[in-house]
């Protein structure tokens, strides 16, 4: 992929629509494929992990073109290592970065060489954490282990799945609940709808990159889908709903977002090189 960017499309964009704006260029400090980002509706800001610079970049919400970030968490005190994912708790003003067996937490206004204020890690956590999302209503921090799911276990040798922690979990803390079983063990990028306590996760059965996330030697997995779980689900529980599959439309699902006002689920697909919007009121009621 030769051209990284963050493009903004109108809600009703369809077909080969032109973005209303796009963030790209030397000043942005983007590197290769951007694997995650977060929108902060309170501050009207966009957060992006920089995979090579080991930085968390914050842009104005209306950023356009070759613009510099307004803040960056960057430097030896940050503990950042190959950051691929980021999440924002817009209510309590904290940034969450999952990396390997840790989740790093920074205050929203962090800038420069700043150490995390909390680190969730340790054998009781059961992490690998590849991706993270926050439910600020129910005070939950939710992780998916994403990579290294060989034999149904994560990097820690624990059952792969969606782990639900207290939002303020710190150190070697056990999860409140662990959703396991087919689907949850292959969960990747996630988001939540706090109003009804649902977790929306892209599910990618098959090869998700191996222990280092760079072993991609086969073709895409056509059985991808979006799975929907409750934040109260626990144990070997299948998704309550599946969207776009399995074995239907989605081939290699990647990103996930929800538009609660319209009760829509939006998902991107690498193999189809497309972004789909599904209307799914059943998932929001």
């Amino acid at each position: 992929m030769g051209h990284p960017q963050i493009a903004a499309f109108a809600r009703l964009a369809n077909g080969g629509a032109k973005p209303v704006r796009a963030i790209a260029g030397q000043n942005t400090l983007f590197t290769r494929t951007i694997h995650d980002m977060a929108y902060d509706p309170v501050r009207d800001e966009i957060l992006v992990p920089s995979f090579y610079a080991f930085a968390i970049l914050t842009f104005r919400g209306d950023a356009n073109g070759d613009v510099s970030p307004v803040r960056k968490i960057f430097g030896p005190s940050t503990h950042l290592l190959n950051p691929q994912a980021v999440s924002i708790d817009a209510v309590h003003g904290e940034i969450f970065v999952p990396q390997g067996n840790q989740v790093l937490v920074y205050p929203r206004d962090s800038n420069g060489d700043v150490a995390p204020v909390r680190i969730l890690q340790g054998p009781d956590t059961g992490l690998g954490a590849g991706r993270v999302t926050i439910d600020a209503v129910h005070d939950l921090l939710i992780t998916a282990n994403a990579t290294g799911g060989e034999g149904g276990v994560n990097r820690s040798g624990r059952p792969a799945g969606i782990r639900i922690f207290d939002r303020k979990a710190n150190g070697n803390t056990r999860p409140l609940r662990v959703i396991t079983g087919p689907g949850a063990k292959d969960a990747w990028l996630m988001t939540t709808n706090p109003a009804n306590g649902m977790i929306f996760a892209v599910v990618r059965p098959g090869n998700t990159g191996g222990p280092n996330g760079d072993d991609i030697e086969g073709r895409f997995a056509p059985e991808d889908y979006v799975g929907v779980w409750s934040i109260f689900d626990d144990g070997d529980v299948p998704p309550r709903l599946t969207i776009g599959g399995p074995n239907l439309l989605l081939k290699d699902a990647r990103g996930i977002a929800v538009d609660p006002r319209r009760q829509d689920v939006i998902v991107s697909d690498k193999t189809l090189n497309a972004v789909f919007r599904f209307h799914v009121p059943e998932a929001f009621n």
């Binding site: 493009a7 590197t31 929108y39 290592l81 209503v137 239907l248 829509d264």
Partner: protein
């Protein structure tokens, strides 16, 4: 007496008329208050009233103020969310199988997808008069006649041959090389498939590669040393150049590795070989990090680059973009012979590079500057380009590929942002009209530039969808 009666009646009539006049005056005064209403008769139509709207200073719908206290907004939001918490404090019932089946099979209400081919990289075959284009939107390699020129009124040019389909092992092919002797086509997949694929010259459709080679993750640029029968590739993740035998296949190991902090490589992309001097030129976007290098060879393969799992936390670096110069046989942690870097270079996401040995010139595609910059091959430091191609007449838009036809002295540019490949005389400068254009869509067709759309977010303030490549 009659006279008195007439006088009384006249007086009463006068008072009545005066009263009517007063009522009319007052009514008129009330109705005309503000002096902004008026009644006009225009032709046979009657305009009843004109009333100016309140002053809005240009905006009828004022968006939520970004400058409003975040804490206030947060508290309001939290209040709403706490209300939501009360509504969802317990485990909800699971939907029935009928509902699950309906939802799983539901079609999307909208789909953002560019229906056209998006040109990313290219290579010229002057022997067979063809150009091969690496195309990212539909995972294909496209072969056009070298002299193809899409007429101004035509929507697009169809390729002579197209290699595309699941058997091809092509995904986001960003670079391509053509074997001058056989015409075989070498394609590089960047970060979604770790394979280099080789196709016979006449391959078409859903063809299996004649051979494929396991390559390091994030291979971006490729160039061949025909004298030594070797292939050199840049590796973004590992800030490295690896060299394979040209006939390598399957799990063959590289024969040489250029990697380490002294190389100054940082997110390398394009690579070019000067066949006269034996020098290689590498374009770098600028970010990298520190890693431990005293580790065993990965996969047990000698000369395989040291991977990201050896990176040191917090060691990220942010540097300006650059062109680093090495001898083609350099290996290990070797410093570049020269570095072109600085604000006067005009480098901005330098994605692809080509060298003209006879002219002693380097051509660089700068993606987000919409330029091709040209330097002397012996440039060093903060060098000003000797020529710059840029402007609306040139049609150069998000160029991610550049190639030279040394036989016909032509410069080719792949424009990811405008569904086109443009051809110029090799000495073109300024804002030149292309000598020829190959288009995959109408001139004005929008280009979403989606390429491996990975993560998305909903911007609730603007009601927009954010999509990252």
């Amino acid at each position: 007496m009659a006279h008195l009666v007439r006088a009384w009646r006249a007086s009463r009539m006068i008072r009545f008329l005066v009263l009517i006049a007063l009522v009319g005056t007052v009514t008129q005064a009330v109705l005309s208050r503000g002096a902004t209403r008026q009644t006009k008769v225009i032709g046979s139509e009657r305009l009843v009233s004109v009333e100016p709207l309140a002053e809005t200073n240009g905006q009828m719908c004022v968006p939520e103020s970004v400058a409003a206290s975040p804490e206030l907004i947060a508290s309001l939001r939290q209040e709403n969310l706490l209300s939501a918490r009360r509504q969802s404090a317990s485990i909800p019932p699971r939907p029935g199988n009928s509902v699950k089946s309906q939802v799983a099979a539901r079609k999307p209400v909208s789909t953002i997808r560019d229906p056209r081919n998006a040109f990313a990289g290219l290579a010229i075959d002057p022997i067979r008069n063809e150009v091969v284009i690496a195309e990212e939107n539909n995972f294909s390699l496209l072969v056009y006649d070298r002299l193809e020129n899409t007429p101004a009124r035509a929507a697009l040019s169809e390729p002579k041959r197209m290699i595309q389909g699941e058997k091809t092992f092509l995904e986001y092919a960003c670079s391509v090389y053509i074997d001058p002797e056989t015409g075989n086509i070498y394609g590089i997949n960047n970060d979604t498939l770790n394979w280099m694929t080789v196709f016979d010259r006449d391959a078409r459709g859903n063809a299996s590669p004649s051979r494929k080679l396991h390559t390091p993750h994030t291979t971006f640029g490729i160039v061949a040393d025909e004298d030594k029968q070797e292939l050199l590739m840049t590796i973004q993740d590992d800030h490295a150049v690896v060299t394979f035998k040209k006939n390598a296949k399957d799990q063959d190991a590289p024969v040489r590795l250029l990697q380490g902090p002294r190389t100054l490589m940082a997110d390398p992309h394009g690579i070019a070989l000067d066949s006269k001097t034996g020098l290689i030129y590498v374009t770098n976007w600028g970010t990298n990090q520190e890693r431990k290098y005293d580790v065993p060879w990965r996969y047990g393969k000698v000369n395989w680059p040291v991977g990201r799992n050896n990176n040191i936390p917090g060691s990220g670096k942010i540097n300006p973009p650059s062109i680093t110069v090495y001898h083609k046989d350099d290996k290990g942690d070797v410093a570049p012979l020269r570095v072109i870097q600085g604000p006067r270079t005009g480098l901005n996401w330098p994605t692809s590079i080509a060298v003209h040995p006879d002219r002693g010139e380097l051509f660089v595609a700068n993606d987000t500057a919409d330029t091709v910059t040209v330097y002397r091959t012996d440039s060093n430091g903060d060098a000003v380009p000797i020529r710059v191609l840029k402007g609306p007449r040139s049609m150069i838009k998000n160029p991610t590929g550049v190639a030279l036809d040394l036989k016909n002295n032509e410069l080719w540019v792949a424009n990811f942002g405008s569904h086109s490949a443009t051809v110029f005389p090799v000495d073109a400068a300024g804002d030149p009209v292309p000598r020829r254009v190959i288009r995959s869509g109408p001139v004005e067709s929008p280009s979403p530039m989606l390429s491996n759309p990975h993560t998305i977010a909903y911007d609730s303030k603007r009601d927009e969808l954010l999509v990252s490549n």
